[in-house]
């Protein structure tokens, strides 16, 4: 089997889809990778993805959003992920085929939304 380096990072296009739901789930999505770096088709080989975020545009010290998924999207919670509200973070995704990783995609910047908390409830003197 011909060994090929996997996947141009520029093939990956990431888009953030914000789902304003009560559960406050956001979704990071990207285009499927279908070709090797030489342009040949990946075909039926299994492609898995690892999505990460970082406060650095160079994706240093990344935190994993999803790992080893064959899906082209990953849901995450700002709270659970520990993302800093009011700050800009960066997402990257890499693909893996046959144990070989691509480079990370071009980082996508995202301003983590700020929100005011609700006021405390049931205030009482006791």
């Amino acid at each position: 089997m011909k060994a090929k380096r996997v996947i141009l990072s520029s093939v990956l296009v990431i888009a953030i889809v914000i789902c304003a739901s009560v559960a406050r789930a956001e979704t990071l999505s990207w285009n499927a990778v279908t070709t090797y770096t030489d342009g040949s088709a990946i075909g039926s080989a299994t492609v898995t993805y690892t999505a990460v975020w970082s406060t650095s545009a160079s994706l240093t010290s990344p935190t994993t959003v999803a790992s080893g998924t064959s899906s082209t999207s990953a849901a995450f919670s700002i709270s659970s992920a520990g993302m800093p509200r009011g700050s800009t973070i960066y997402f990257g995704v890499k693909a893996t085929v046959g144990g070989v990783d691509s480079a990370y995609s071009t980082a996508l910047s995202w301003a983590v939304p700020s929100l005011s908390p609700s006021s405390p409830g049931n205030l009482r003197v006791q």
């Binding site: 559960a23 709270s79 005011s116 908390p117 609700s118 006021s119 405390p120 205030l123 003197v125 006791q126």
Partner: protein, 144 residues
């Protein structure tokens, strides 16, 4: 008056809300047999847009406001602030676990109030990004 209250805010911020200081100062309850009043509340669990909020992760602190009427306004100065989450000693005695702050000992405010007068209290929650909630519904405190 406002200067004095601002001063208290700084003092209490430095000792976790008083009540003896330390990590549990903000939650310190009156001693056995004591009738010292305290202010209690339910931590918010949503953001202003009604999406879910994890108070352990996304709340930074509370601000306490004191007035002799209910006309709380945006330019009021908080008289105290306490951390929204404090670390308390776990039952095993060898580690700490986060605990939500839900009580404030009003004895901390007495040096800045007059006995026998009626006051109104309100609090705001402040998120980790610094954004504040509106005022909670005020409650009356008869400082006897």
């Amino acid at each position: 008056m406002m200067i004095a209250l601002a001063t208290l805010a700084v003092l209490l911020a430095g000792c976790g809300g008083g009540g003896g200081g330390g990590a549990e100062g903000a939650q310190a309850s009156p001693g056995p047999g004591s009738s010292a009043p305290s202010l209690a509340w339910d931590p918010p669990t949503t953001f202003s847009d009604n999406t879910l909020l994890d108070p352990y992760v996304e709340l930074d602190y509370y601000e306490f406001y004191l007035r002799s009427d209910t006309n709380f306004a945006d330019n009021d100065v908080p008289v105290a602030q306490v951390s929204a989450v404090t670390n308390v000693l776990a039952p095993d005695g060898s580690s700490y676990v986060p605990s939500l702050t839900i009580v404030f000992n009003l004895v901390n405010l007495q040096p800045f109030t007059q006995q026998g007068r009626v006051y109104y209290l309100s609090i705001k929650s402040v998120g980790m990004d610094g954004l504040k909630s509106g005022f909670s519904t005020p409650v009356v405190w008869n400082n006897t």
